[in-house]
């Protein structure tokens, strides 16, 4: 849970805000709203009940605030009280944030109702982040004397409210902006506003120009997270229960890396019951802290499950069973093993919480690609000098001996044990053990691969020169290219020198996460606009840096020349390929054998359909042979469907059709397949092939073996759209 937060935006809505300045084609208001909307929508996206947003307009036509009876608070309107932010409120705001017809109104006065609003929602005894952002062009006269400035600043300070004033075209030397033809009034206002933030002190007051804030919008913001501690307890060597000499250090283990996933889209349907009030809340809204998904155009979709079992006597071979009649269990192979509710934990390994060192390994004997999960770090129990010093001795020892520790970790009683590797980390003011999870025996598959530095022939001879092996030249040009493309110190430092690591973790942002956040926010603010383009920063590391490539160009050219890599032409089309039949290891020409009259296949054997179809196709002499093969296979497929008891033959049907389709693409006869499928669909859906076969239809769709379209085969006349249409009943 993040901290509680109240934020008030004070917006200058004076009529002058409708004008464009300094060469912009956007009005001042639209321009500055880019930043405001970004802030507000970020809050709305988080959907937290404890994050409140309020909006106050200044220089509005109306007057609507708690002080409206007093002098000096005219043309100040509360557009939104401090409330949790959501989409309907954003819509309301969109309608009310418009340039007014007046120039009157004092934005500093607006601070008074703002402070009151914050104080009501977030009284001082509660822990809150309190913020006010003010955006103004500073063109309206401000009626203030220095004493007022001080008293407002004191009030902000005593309420612990941070004030940020962002001016439109305010001068900012650090950012590098100066408005040339500034009016005297504006210059005076700027100075006044600046003095206010200065009076608030460095911690609370910030003064800047909005251009800078807008510039920073494209830089993704990192979501703040609270430290999470998956383990808290002793780290042991030996067993203290058995032997008092065993080592025991009290530690805390926190997340170091944790995948920040992009938001996932939910399944929804268009509401059909407009008007009726929905009171339901989503059960699965776990990340939502309390904001209800009620109104709006869409309703969530939830899944209901029904259960079926095989029953030879039931139509289709299956029948429904009541969920309540089912017991829980597991599968052991295809045997269903039922375990009673009381004993359900019987297969669970009993474990006791603990973090125990198994032994130590050498750092250079470990490879990073062996780990397979997110990392954590372990520090000593907070405020325990003894544990801190003890853990430090382990950290320093691992460091000195260039070792890692292997440990078994059970985070809580009953949790599955995992093995983690602990590595020392020493900074001047921070020490810890980093750990990564390691695979168990079952997690490593043994796939054989031939070595890369030599070629071993079938006769067990070792070759060191081969077209699969790099020549001396190739090794050298590769080496030079790799060195030329080194980015260990390629990023610019503050002096403009290339001394920093390029693409360091801190500089890389998850493209999908920020992209989805960006478009969702954008759509929430501007429902009618098309999807905006991807910000450049998200694609920065999608390509090597242009200057770097330029600098390494001659090396790369050398490498390309030496490597002599050739692209394999796109699938050498059909008819030529057909005769390149695979041969057994001996190289024996089985085709010749199959062409012998005794062996020649002229009819597809239903029991051996795929091989005899393939052989018939490959030995075909003319188009009529192809269509004969297609006809026969089609008949076999229909028969399989008709004879199928329940779904028993469906997989064979799919396999036959898959091969059918593949071969008709390869032999450039897509129409033979498409014609068959058109007819097959009719028969299938009309119930002609042994009754209701819609289940098979869904499976065919799932296996993507529909019509062959133009993209799959140039010979096809079916468009992609027609192929997609085919699946619709």
């Amino acid at each position: 849970m993040a901290d509680k937060e109240t934020t008030i935006y004070i917006l200058d809505l004076g009529s002058s805000m409708a004008d464009c300045h300094n060469g912009r084609t956007e009005s001042d208001l639209d321009w500055s709203m880019r930043w405001i909307w970004d802030k507000i929508s970020t809050t709305a996206a988080a959907s937290r009940k404890t994050w409140h947003v309020g909006v106050i307009g200044v220089r509005t036509d109306e007057t609507k605030n708690a002080m409206e009876d007093q002098d000096g608070y005219e043309h100040i309107s509360v557009l939104q009280d401090l409330e949790p932010m959501d989409l309907p409120k954003m819509r309301n705001l969109r309608d009310s944030i418009k340039p007014s017809n007046t120039l009157e109104g004092d934005c500093i006065s607006a601070l008074i109702p703002a402070i009151d609003m914050i104080d009501t929602v977030a009284p001082q005894r509660l822990k809150f982040n309190r913020k006010i952002f003010m955006v103004t062009s500073g063109e309206a006269p401000l009626d203030l004397d220095p004493d007022d400035i001080q008293s407002i600043a004191d009030k902000l300070k005593s309420n612990n409210i941070a004030l940020t004033i962002l001016g439109i075209d305010f001068d900012d030397a650090e950012f590098g902006f100066k408005e040339e033809d500034k009016t005297e009034l504006k210059a005076a206002n700027e100075a006044l506003l600046r003095s206010l933030t200065e009076a608030c002190g460095e911690d609370l007051g910030t003064f800047g120009t909005i251009a800078e804030a807008i510039d920073e919008l494209d830089t993704p913001r990192l979501k703040a997270t609270k430290p999470y501690k998956p383990y808290d307890g002793p780290l042991t060597l030996g067993d203290p229960e058995v032997d008092p000499r065993a080592m025991r250090i009290n530690v805390e283990r926190y997340f170091k890396t944790k995948k920040a996933n992009p938001p996932t889209a939910s399944n929804v349907v268009v509401r059909t019951d407009h008007g009726t009030q929905s009171t339901s809340t989503l059960e699965d809204g776990d990340e939502m802290q309390g904001v209800e998904y009620g109104g709006g155009e869409f309703a969530a979709v939830k899944n209901a499950r029904t259960y079926k079992v095989n029953d030879p006597d039931a139509p289709g071979g299956k029948r429904d069973v009541e969920f309540d009649s089912l017991a829980k269990g597991y599968e052991y192979g295809r045997t269903a093993v039922h375990i009673s509710e009381a004993e359900f934990n019987i297969t669970k390994l009993e474990t006791t919480k603990g973090f125990s060192i198994i032994g130590f390994i050498q750092q250079d004997k470990y490879e990073p690609f062996l780990n397979f999960g997110e990392s954590c770090f372990t520090v000593a129990q907070k405020n325990s000098t003894a544990d801190s010093m003890k853990l430090s001795s382990l950290i320093h020892s691992l460091h000195e001996l260039e070792s890692y520790a292997l440990a078994r970790l059970v985070v809580k009683d009953g949790k599955d044990p995992i093995l983690v590797l602990l590595a020392p980390h020493i900074d001047p003011d921070f020490e810890c053990l980093y750990d990564v999870p390691l695979p168990f025996a079952e997690d490593v598959r043994h796939y054989p691969f031939p070595p890369l530095d030599k070629v071993i022939t079938v006769n067990n001879k070792t070759l060191t020169k081969h077209r699969y092996l790099p020549s001396q030249d190739l090794e050298e040009t590769m080496s030079e290219y790799v060195d030329a493309m080194d980015i260990s110190t390629y990023a610019l430092d503050d002096e403009g020198e290339r001394t920093f690591e390029y693409a360091a973790v801190d500089d890389t942002y998850s493209p999908s996460l920020h992209r989805i956040n960006q478009v969702v926010r954008d759509r929430a603010i501007h429902p009618d606009k098309p999807v905006p383009p991807i910000p450049h920063i998200l694609l920065k590391y999608a390509q090597p840096d242009r200057d770097l490539v330029e600098a390494a160009k001659t090396r790369l050219d050398d490498l390309i020349e030496t490597a002599e890599v050739k692209k394999v032409p796109p699938k050498a089309t059909g008819k030529k390929r057909q005769h390149e039949r695979a041969r057994p290891i001996s190289g024996l020409d089985v085709d010749a054998l199959l062409k012998m009259p005794d062996n020649k296949r002229t009819k597809i054997d239903p029991d051996n359909a795929i091989p005899s179809f393939k052989q018939m196709m490959s030995n075909a002499n003319d188009v009529s042979d192809f269509s004969e093969a297609a006809k026969q296979l089609g008949q076999i497929v229909r028969q399989l469907v008709t004879d199928s008891f329940g779904d028993r033959n469906f997989d064979r049907v799919i396999e036959n059709l898959g091969v059918f389709r593949e071969f008709m693409i390869n032999y450039e006869e897509p129409m033979l397949y498409n014609d068959f499928m058109g007819d097959f669909k009719k028969r299938l859906l009309s119930g002609e092939l042994g009754g209701d076969r819609r289940e098979l239809w869904w499976q065919l769709k799932g296996a993507r073996i529909g019509l062959i379209d133009k993209e799959a085969s140039e010979e096809s006349k079916i468009t992609r759209e027609e192929a997609a249409e085919f699946w619709k009943k």
Binding site: L237, G238, A265, S266, V268, E292, Y293, G296, F298, A300, V301, N303, A304, R305, T306, D311, K328, A336, I346, T347, K348, P368, F369, F372, E374, V379, S384, A386, K390, P439, A441, E442, D443, Y447, P448, P450, D453, T457, L469, V482, S488, Y490, A503, S510, L513, V519, Y541, P544, L556, K567, P584, L588, N599, I610, P611, D651, R652, G702, A703, R704
Partner: protein, 647 residues
């Protein structure tokens, strides 16, 4: 047989992040059917000569082969829960074929005996096979060779029919032939030719034949060129020039046979194929990717229907309903939208696609770095192994090899932008070389040589450290710890995963097996991950004791220094504190609010624990790994209990 359902349900149901193995044969189910064909003949049944060697195998070749099949069956139940397996004995006097439902059929292939019909193994199959091989329970007289031998074409067509009917549309179908006869049809041209034709059929059906030859004694040879090279086709999944095509096992050598067979129990499956690896603009090669490291977890629990003759698993089907009205909705109505501020924000399917479009699938090098810049903690998920393939670019292998050599030699890694398939989330990966398996310096000889795509975290994925104060060790204390670390090195000073089976996974299946076979449930798991505490106490118990005592001394020193420092600070004199030992990082403020054991004991004895503040009590409790919840009285009681028990 409803596994195909998964296929289309997956398309619609699952979240996009679902790891899907990618394959050109898109319409095929990603499942493996493995059929053992074990030759029964007098030589295969001959017991090995008696040997003094305790390790010598006492089984004949048939039993050895069946034993390895038994082991593979048990392992595959755990690792490949959906995959099928079957056993044929060939060359037997008896003949048996079973139809789809497992009932004996009139169809038959002479001298081929279907012992275990091809299917996902059932508990009964495991039990039957075990009693057959371990108890020598051959009451049906199966292990009697036919006097006329067997026609290999019959075996091959028998296998063909089994695969066609029982494993339709499987992405992987394999026939393992275990025999000692390298020439089953000497001089019989027609029998050989028929076998070749049937072998071609199997090839066209997508069945891969592997021969596990057995030789008897040093002098005998198994000559593949006599017969088997004509019926075995190059394995499409093996890389060019796979040297491990055949493994000649010694007769009856159960261990090497098992090793050869188990190394192939999981079919080699590419995670992606023909992936473009862009080394630089204009230099592309093609690679394949493999999930060599993949988490194995117990299968999820399921619902079982007990009212029928045999217990069976109920298959669930999903219907979708609108939340608001609970009316059933059809697939076409369902749209995707993002939750936002209390409502949904909608994008059309085209827009969805556009949003997720980050270019085509690729591995694109953006530069190279020193290996040292890849920090230990920059770890997110498993790495994918890549190996060159000539399918997209000719010459890929040599370029890949050159890069691999260079990275190893210079201690560098590549940094690459990686999109594993269209619409997948892009990631940055480190491209790290693994050493050759015969390299003596390799810490990972169980992994193949190649490159690994190692996902690196983005800034968004990194959590900040909490503010903690560190009290540094002293040189003496570190030295004392060094003694411990030096002694407790693991074998070869490396981590070898094969030594550590997953205890919870093993236990889960062990219990299930016992329940399924109605055997006694074992009470003690064999947990190899538990530290060998006895040995640890024996070997370093003394060192640890010394280290503890030294730590107490150093701690006292440290606290004294802190005390002096505080006093000095109170004096308000900026005089430098007495120079602390260089290695001690002096801390400001309170040095140790959690008291050490001695102080705790003292407080306990004088009954002063109740005088502690709740905050301090909680800290002390937490420091000892105790629960910190409850009222003050409870906290005090808990702490007193602990002191009583432990100090």
């Amino acid at each position: 047989m409803a596994e195909r359902n998964d296929h289309y349900k997956r398309e619609e149901d699952e979240e996009e992040e679902e790891e899907e193995e990618l394959d050109e044969n898109y319409y095929k189910a990603q499942k493996d059917a493995l059929l053992f064909a074990i030759n029964v003949s007098p030589s295969m049944l001959k017991d090995p000569p008696p040997s003094e060697d305790k390790k010598a195998i006492k089984d004949n070749a048939v039993i050895a082969a069946l034993k390895s099949a038994h082991q593979v069956m048990q392992q595959r139940i755990i690792s490949n829960a959906k995959d099928m397996m079957g056993i044929i004995l060939f060359g037997t006097e008896k003949t048996k074929y079973v139809d789809f439902d497992g009932k004996p059929s009139n169809l038959s292939y002479p001298h081929c005996y279907v012992y275990t019909p091809l299917d996902v193994p059932a508990a009964e199959d495991v039990k039957q096979l075990r009693s057959f091989v371990h108890d020598g329970d051959d009451e049906d007289q199966l292990l009697v060779p036919s006097p006329d031998g067997v026609d290999i074409k019959d075996l091959l067509f028998c296998a063909n029919q089994i695969f066609t009917q029982k494993a339709p549309n499987f992405g992987s179908r394999r026939l393992f032939i275990i025999t000692d006869n390298d020439d089953p049809h000497p001089g019989d041209k027609s029998a050989s030719e028929s076998a070749r034709t049937r072998a071609q059929d199997l090839y066209d059906l997508g069945v891969n034949i592997e021969v596990f030859p057995i030789t008897h004694g040093e002098d005998s040879k198994f000559d593949l060129t006599k017969f088997y090279d004509n019926i075995v086709y190059p394995d499409p999944t093996s890389e060019a020039l796979d040297s491990e095509r055949f493994n000649t096992s010694k007769s009856g050598d159960l261990n090497s046979l098992i090793k050869n067979i188990t190394s192939k129990q999981t079919p080699k499956r590419a995670y992606f194929s023909n992936m473009t690896f862009e080394l630089g603009p204009g230099l592309n090669i093609s690679v394949k990717g493999y999930n060599i490291i993949q988490k194995q977890s117990p299968a999820r629990s399921c619902y079982i229907w007990l009212d029928g003759e045999t217990a069976q698993m109920a298959v669930s089907e999903t219907t979708r309903m609108a939340e608001d009205t609970t009316r059933t909705v059809s697939t076409g109505e369902v749209k995707k939208a993002y939750k936002f501020g209390g409502e949904y924000v909608y994008f059309s399917p085209e827009e969805q696609k556009e949003v997720k479009q980050f270019g085509s699938s690729t591995i694109r090098i953006i530069g190279f770095k020193d290996r040292s810049l890849l920090k230990f903690w920059m770890s997110m998920k498993k790495s994918v192994f890549i190996y060159p393939s000539e399918e997209g670019y000719i010459g890929s292998t040599r370029v890949f090899s050159a890069l691999w050599k260079k990275l190893l030699k210079s201690g560098k890694i590549g940094i690459a932008w990686h999109v594993s398939r269209t619409n997948a989330n892009p990631v940055l990966v480190a491209v790290i070389p693994s050493r050759a398996q015969d390299d003596e310096d390799s810490g990972t000889p169980f992994l193949p040589a190649g490159l690994w795509l190692y996902p690196i975290p983005f800034a968004d994925d990194v959590r900040p450290p909490p503010g903690v104060k560190t009290v540094r060790t002293t040189d003496e204390l570190t030295n004392q710890m060094n003694k411990i670390v030096r002694v407790l090195q693991l074998p070869n000073a490396a981590y070898d995963p094969t030594k550590y089976p997953n205890p919870s996974l093993q236990w889960h299946y062990r219990i299930l097996q016992a329940l399924a076979l109605e055997e006694e449930v074992p009470d003690e798991p064999d947990d190899k991950t538990k530290p060998k505490t006895k040995a640890i106490h024996k070997r370093v118990g003394g060192h640890i004791e010394d280290w503890s005592n030294l730590a107490d001394q150093e701690l006292t020193k440290y606290e004294e220094q802190q005390g002096i420092k505080r006093e000095l600070e109170h004096d308000d004199e900026p005089r430098p504190a007495k120079k602390a030992k260089k290695t001690i990082k002096a801390e400001n403020g309170d040095g140790g609010s959690v008291m050490n054991d001695a102080a705790l004991k003292k407080k306990f004895n004088s009954g002063e624990l109740t005088k502690l503040k709740v905050v301090d009590l909680k800290d002390i409790l937490a420091a000892h790994g105790l629960d910190t919840k409850g009222k003050k009285a409870e906290l005090v009681e808990r702490l007193e209990q602990w002191v009583e028990d432990n100090l």
